[in-house]
Amino acid sequence: MANNVSHTTEYRTLGKVLLFLMLCTFLTITVTGIHLGPFSVTVALLIACAKAYTVMTYFMHLKYESLLLKLLVGFVFVLFVLIILITFIDYAFR
């Protein structure tokens, strides 16, 4: 029984994604090299998030997955942000 429903991503697309990720890495190293003060960590994390999003969308095929899976990933992300918020609020008002 063939029950494969997975999307096939072309080699070219995967190559382009890698190129983008390499560019982001280069950018991260350059940005933290110049002194932006407290912004440098923000920029580094934003770039990291962009990379993570790209890896999940294309390498992990999330773009072509069911709505259920996408919602689940979104839910985990929201959960993590909530945990961060609660921890930091607790920490700040201790």
Binding site: S6, L18, T25, A48, F59
Partner: protein, 205 residues
Amino acid sequence: MSEKHNHVEEHRDDEASKLGMWLFIFTELLLFGGLFIVYSIFRHEYYQAFRESSLELSVTIGAINTIALLFSSMTVAMALTAMQKNDKKTALIMIGITLLMALVFLVNKYFEWGHKIEHGLYPGSALMPLLDRGHLLYFSLYFFMTGLHAFHIIVGMVLLFICLFKVKNGSIHPEKYALLENGALYWHLVDLIWIFLFPLMYLIS
């Protein structure tokens, strides 16, 4: 009844096994997420010490490892594409390259850690308790987080070795590749964690 009609339909659900893999990935993300929260709070509290300690790490080695992992993430995705296209040879080569990149990562890590250990910097060493609290926290978190990540690399390598073997003997084929797909998902997770570990551990300006 002939042999042919005696065939029992194999019970499997690739979609569900993929969902299961994703659920496991969520637990992994939250595990590392918790560690990242610990890291951010101590980094905020002992910023100067974290900055000084991070200068001890080689950005070059970190960058090479980043590139190795990103590249391996692409090759494992290509292995899956090749399998879907019924191109067994390319699939095998791509899994092989992925494993090679994983090895490059671990060898780099070996030298990196070896250098620290030579200087007496490792958990439980005589030097560690003499450090001030900020440096101690940085190196404890460094060894724990990169160590846990390296452990995931090793697990991923074992998983991909099994995939390599199964592609070779034909038990993973274009009609049935859930194991390879889930193995690839695991490998992307390892890459995903490193994407955050690299700027946070190596690049503190």
